[in-house]
Amino acid sequence: MPLAGLLTTVNIYSIMPPSSSDPRLQALLSSPHLWRAETPESLPGSPSSAGFAGIASGHALLDAALPWQGWPRSALVEIISPVCGAGELQLVLPLLRTLSEEQQWSIWVAPPMSPYAPGLLGAGVDPARNILVTPTPAQRLWTLEKSLQSPACALVLGWPGLLSGKHIRRLQLAARKGRTLGILFHPRNIRHSASVLRLATHTRGDTLQVQVLKARGSYRKDAFAIRLELP
């Protein structure tokens, strides 16, 4: 089926309800050559183009703001926060809880303080499934890359300090190779970074203000607030 002749159909589809039963439309939609703007990982050459959904983040507003309906898989995420420990871990705690229920491994690379096992347990996270790695500053990027490249762990949380766009590109490739979700916490917003998702957070009163700076394949730049509650 020549794709060029069907562009109008695609436009119609975007305003039509998705439950169309036209067989020609179905055939077109199942074609691997079709790029769909609203499911970014269906880009040709992506690790998995069909049935691609994210991991529920546990925050309804965040899920709604992201094209994957949750955290992306096999990708690098940046969370940009001016200070450490100002609530940005709250974004990740539900994910850690899900992963520890599934008995998957999470690795914490160079966190600014020590994670406290009773606190994690109180938040419903099994501390035994979390490994703490504290490399010297010079070895941080190497550690991050190796952890992301390994298919053994599901999540890598990293506090890399200052980063350049080149490093992010390399880490993004590593995350894709290892099919690992990497979440980096750092203070500086790098324009044109290669990460799949970039969020900026800051705290105001009892809430964590989250702004989506970039989500690959989506033009929406939602901003919303998450209420911080004591775990």
Binding site: V83, G85, A152
Partner: protein, 485 residues
Amino acid sequence: MSSHLPQKPGRAPAKRLLKAVKPRHPVSLPPSSSRPSRRSTPLWYAVCVPRLQPGHGERGIAQERLQELAALLGQISATVSIQPPDSVVFEVRSSLTYFGGIANIRTRVLALLEPLLASWELESGLQQAVTPTAAASLLLARSGCNLLVYRRDSLRSALGSLPLDALVSSLPPAKAKQRSRQLRNSGLQVMRDLWRLPRQSLARRFGPEFVRQLDVCLGDMPMPVTPHQAAPRFSTTMDFEYAGENSAFLLHAIDELLARLCLYLQQRELAAAHLQFLLRHEHREDTVVAVELRQASRSQSHLALLLETRIQALTLAAPVIGMQLEVQRFDSFRPQSRPVTGLADAAGQADQGAIVQLLEQLQARLGNEAVRSLHCHAEHGPELAGSERTFSGIAGIVGSPAAEAGPLPVATRPCWILGQPSALPPPAFRTLQLLSGPERIETRWWSGQPLHRDYYVARNQQGMRLWIYHERTGERAWYLHGVFD
């Protein structure tokens, strides 16, 4: 039957030779057992070095020395067994023809062991005996009777003049004392006295274990002998035709050495628990790279990955002219079995293997201390409730999470903790806004470092929620202990 050993020329006459014993009394064999032919009766050679016993050195040293002795005696017999604390027995009937008689074997044993004993400064300490049962050989060797007994029939008379103390020496000291008093009070002094007593009364007076010990000595009951197996050891070297420094060149050589190691491991169903890798230099000390494995492995790619990680982090002092790979500690190879059903479990196991490999690789480069696992303890003191341990294998982490974790914390706990509480000076404290509290923690009064603290949750000007406390005794100062997130 008996035979006289030819005297070895040049031996000091003070040293007693093995002497053969003739049966003095007609011996009645148990009616059920047919008389064994000479070839089928084993002949056990016992060698005893009494001064090897613990007390003269540590137990570990004695054990090591016995293993050295056993390794040497492996040249004479196929079945060598270590009998702690001080003896080694080995079977020589099968080697008699090969060595040309017991006298030659004895000469050879002395030639093998004397230099070794001399190096331990135990020259005059060797006692030996040869009989058809290992237990009798041991008994005779330990009591210093250098005897040679060829036939089981002669055992009773050979053992006859042995004092009974020899028989009780294998018991624990308290029991041995009691038993020897018991024997003395019954008017029994030498083994011959026992032969005259009926079995049943012996069993009634001294217990069935005692009678069993006699039976084992006389060969009426078999004695289990655990053969000594030398510890496996692997060492391989490679010399280069020209000195190399380039890491690609070294990695190629490593692959070659590891291939040899993995072949060795596969043939013996073993897995390496550590690797010691030497890089040889000209006119310089060797560079040693030691890799400890959390989980013994025989996967060439995994071992190569670990070694490569270490080698790449290494700065070489000089070009390398040769390499040596040595492995001394092994573990038995445990293949991962996958059940047909329960695929999730199998996937979980494979996943565990992969995470161990990753963590080992991180440890190889960053040091063992840099990779830690998080643990929870049922403790009230906040410092003790959570701990980090150096990662040392998956079992330590996932082994007993539920048992160790205990009950959930009663109140809210932060996700971040400071290693040491940091003092909050009053100006800094004044900028904080208290959100909740206090939670009073009073514990460890028994330890000399009691905790009397009131914990609060406070928010600072950046919006961080902090876990702070103030001391209820002493200076009543405020401290920052953790950060909620």
